[in-house]
């Protein structure tokens, strides 16, 4: 490691050519070319855009040495680069900030930065030196971090700063950022973009992986779109538009805005009255939450991840004990009642963790479809014996109605894509004609096509008079569907407004905790 800060980045161009990566059953990256280039001392921000599963992360994990390519070549400044492990990539000035932060929670910021680095004191740690250089870097890029705090005490935004400082510390000339804005509020995103621009102007090369069109348009110099593992095109950002990028990602025309009929709310169907609940660590997760949802309206709950949304959904769905307060659905008290009772009250739930709370991975499509009503006709006789014909007919019907792409009813659910699994859950939950629907992160990790479909279905439910509580960390989703928006911060509701009155800056400030 050089003693002084690397002022002159060491990469002026990087080329990946004909990259290939196979996983069992899928060609994840198929003959992709990708390049990042600096010019006249100014770096580049190259956005890598695509849906989930398009191959963006895979391609970049190859560049970071986490995956080994099955074909293709990588050249840095015209010399070939062979990558066997992240160590090789780090050694050539390539850094990566992962979607799930690669930090060790029990270690301090300085220890995390020192991890895997050569120490100037041989086998002994040199944390004083790390502290000093971290201070230098934070000053230069306005990234405030305290080197002596353990990671678990930091908020996600702060953890991301640690990741960036660490990458800079390691002398990353090229930095890969995998969906870096997913955990940030709109205000934090602005600050974060300022840092990225400064890094670019200092000569750094940045790869910005995203599926958010407006962010890609705002920050990048060039955009490469991937679809199904192949490169669709690479274009300068100045010539790109939202609609055009969306169509490149999906491969067909898409709708970015929905037709929404005006909302005509009816009676209150779901009512929370001063509800409190604990989080998984046993601390307060929900604090005095009071809200209501009327028939025929969608109430959106916005907030930065980890501010009580998860606890809210689980408490209403009867999966987490409510320590005080009352919940009423359809006029009945459902506080701390079992999910079974809630179903009988006309409630349906689309869970956040669909692979854990939504389906049983190893069960077939049909078995997952009848999870709730498996003991009732037409799926069972006498509450005891399964009726396979009834199960098959009903699940085939659901597959048709909800356009679920599956080889058949007996296919294990885990072999379906996220979007299709979510459609099956939707078919199961909506098939019961609910009066109250809790939808938690209904389109997280789902491709644009299925997202569009799920959104249309939710709007249809709304016009049928269902009361819908939509809990989402995707602000675009909240704004596209909600009639009213509620903001949660640290387990409390700190703001509520009709959709028409939403001001995006104010919303961002509320999400960050400003009253």
């Amino acid at each position: 490691m050089p003693d002084t800060l690397p002022t002159q980045p060491r990469i002026s161009q990087l080329h990946m050519r004909g990259m290939m990566k196979r996983f069992p059953g899928v060609l994840a990256v198929n003959n992709v070319d990708f390049s990042v280039e600096a010019s006249n001392g100014r770096g580049e921000i190259h956005a890598l855009l695509g849906e989930n599963g398009a191959g963006k992360s895979t391609l970049m994990k190859i560049l970071y040495g986490l995956y080994r390519a099955d074909g293709g070549t990588i050249h840095v400044d015209n010399t070939p680069l062979t990558l066997r492990s992240p160590q090789d990539a780090i050694g050539r000035g390539i850094g990566m900030i992962h979607q799930h932060f690669m930090l060790v929670p029990s270690l301090t910021v300085a220890e995390n930065i020192a991890l895997g680095m050569k120490s100037t004191r041989g086998a002994l740690l040199d944390l004083d030196r790390v502290r000093a250089r971290v201070a230098e870097l934070s000053e230069r890029y306005h990234l405030k971090v305290d080197p002596d705090v353990p990671i678990w005490q930091l908020a996600v935004g702060e953890q991301q700063r640690v990741e960036i400082v660490r990458a800079l510390y390691k002398g990353a000339a090229l930095l890969i950022l995998d969906e870096p804005t997913a955990v940030l509020t709109p205000g934090e995103v602005d600050d974060f973009f300022r840092v990225l621009r400064q890094m670019r102007d200092d000569g750094h090369l940045l790869v910005f992986i995203s599926h958010k069109l407006h962010e890609v348009l705002a920050i990048s110099d060039r955009i490469t779109v991937l679809r199904d593992g192949q490169r669709v095109d690479t274009i300068p950002t100045s010539t790109a538009s939202k609609l055009m990028l969306a169509q490149m990602m999906v491969g067909r025309p898409v709708v970015l805005e929905y037709d929404r009929k005006p909302c005509a709310p009816g009676d209150v169907k779901l009512m929370l009255d001063n509800v409190n609940a604990l989080n998984d660590r046993g601390a307060a997760g929900l604090r005095d939450v009071t809200l209501f949802v009327r028939a025929g309206e969608i109430v959106g709950v916005a907030g930065v991840s980890g501010n009580g949304q998860h606890e809210l959904a689980q408490t209403i769905a009867g999966l987490r004990p409510c320590t005080s307060g009352r919940i009423r659905a359809n006029g009945q008290n459902i506080t701390n009642k079992s999910p079974r009772v809630l179903h009988r009250c006309g409630m349906a739930y689309i869970p956040e963790e669909r692979m854990i709370d939504g389906v049983i991975k190893d069960f077939s499509v049909a078995e997952n479809f009848i999870l709730h009503d498996h003991a009732r006709p037409p799926y069972a006789r006498g509450g005891l014996f399964m009726r396979f014909r009834g199960i098959r007919t009903a699940s085939q019907q659901a597959i048709r109605d909800y356009e679920i792409k599956t080889p058949g009813t007996e296919t294990p659910i885990k072999s379906l894509s996220g979007g299709n699994i979510q459609k099956l859950i939707l078919a199961r939950e909506l098939g019961r004609k609910p009066q109250v629907l809790i939808a938690a992160q209904p389109t997280r990790g789902v491709d644009i096509g299925a997202t569009e479909y799920i959104h249309q279905r939710l709007l249809e439910e709304r016009s049928k008079g269902t009361a819908i509580l939509l809990i989402s960390e995707d602000l675009d989703e909240i704004l596209a569907l909600s009639d009213r928006v509620i903001v949660m911060y640290e387990g409390r509701i700190i703001g509520e407004m009709p959709r028409e009155d939403v001001d995006i800056r104010q919303l961002g400030a509320l999400m960050a905790g400003a009253q």
């Binding site: 994990k61 060790v104 680095m117």
Partner: protein, 306 residues
């Protein structure tokens, strides 16, 4: 009667009896800190105990005995690492396998190579001028064999390695978040191989401390559960060498008391006395492990890209 029980010799034997616990449990701390539960410790200890005993029996040299235990322990550690790191086997189950292997193999070798119970001339007590002659203090602290001192010196050394060195940082990182460590260029498998081998080597040493320092005999199942208590002591000591030391002293104190009470002829059914340490193990664990800073990746094999 209290004076008859709490004699200087009880405290002296507390320190002596703590030796195998400390060696085995400090080694296990390294292994568990890096995310590998090494449940086969008992079997490795038995192999180490036999190797040391046999070498001393054959050559008469305690140094060769010590080396034999270290080598056999290290080899058993490598085998454990191969099974749990390379083959990624379920660690609880493969640990039972290693225990049973050590139990059976050490007995088989003993029956084939020696056969009859004999004793050997093991490590002798070191006389330290002046210090050993201090009344009470001298008897308690300065009248032991080399391995007792080595065990107590191992504790600060292990704490230093874990907290102050780059290797220690890698161990802690690999046990908490191997994905992050891997992404930072740490070779997760290599770190785990090293810690598991360290645990094996120290377990071998723990065995030697029984067979050529403390008891100077070998018999079938010589360790009688001591290795399992050492695994539990790591939980009890919250994955820190100092905590492990305190736990070791607590258990060896109970052992020493039990011997003393027996020797002065107090009428307690001997089964109770033998059960006591194990009952205390369970009670202590119920209270100790709740809030502990358990390495989150403990027992979880690491495969890149999962």
């Amino acid at each position: 009667m209290i004076e008859e029980i709490f004699t200087a010799s009880v405290f002296a034997s507390t320190l002596r009896l703590a030796t195998p616990y400390i060696f085995a449990a400090v080694g296990e701390t390294f292994s568990q800190k890096s995310g590998v539960l090494n449940l086969g410790l008992e079997g490795v200890m038995l192999m180490g105990a036999f190797a040391a005993f046999y070498a001393v029996h054959a050559t008469g040299s305690v140094i060769i005995g010590l080396l034999a235990a270290l080598i056999v322990g290290a080899l058993m550690g490598l085998a454990t690492a191969f099974v749990s790191v390379t083959l990624q086997a379920e660690q609880g189950i493969s640990g039972i396998g290693i225990y049973l292997f050590g139990l059976g193999m050490s007995e088989l070798l003993f029956v084939r190579l020696i056969g009859t119970p004999v004793s050997v001339e093991g490590f002798s007590r070191i006389y330290i001028p002046v210090l050993s002659d201090i009344p009470v203090i001298g008897e308690i602290f300065f009248n032991h064999n080399l391995l007792v001192y080595a065990a107590f010196l191992l504790v600060p050394a292990a704490a230093f390695v874990l907290n102050r060195t780059t290797f220690g940082l890698m161990i802690r990182a690999v046990g908490q978040n191997p994905e992050a460590a891997d992404a930072m260029g740490v070779n997760v498998a290599r770190v785990r191989y090293m810690t598991v081998t360290i645990a094996g080597t120290l377990a071998g040493l723990a065995g030697a401390s029984l067979s050529i320092a403390l008891l100077n005999v070998f018999q079938q199942n010589l360790t009688s559960g001591l290795g399992f208590i050492a695994v539990a002591l790591v939980y009890f000591g919250r994955w820190t060498p100092l905590g492990v030391l305190l736990g070791s002293l607590l258990f060896s104190f109970v052992n020493a008391l039990q011997l003393q009470i027996g020797s002065i002829g107090i009428e307690i059914p001997s089964e109770f006395a033998v059960m006591a340490p194990y009952v205390i193990t369970i009670i202590a664990l119920v209270f100790a492990s709740k809030r502990a800073e358990k390495p989150t990746a403990l027992t979880k094999p690491f495969r890149r890209g999962d």
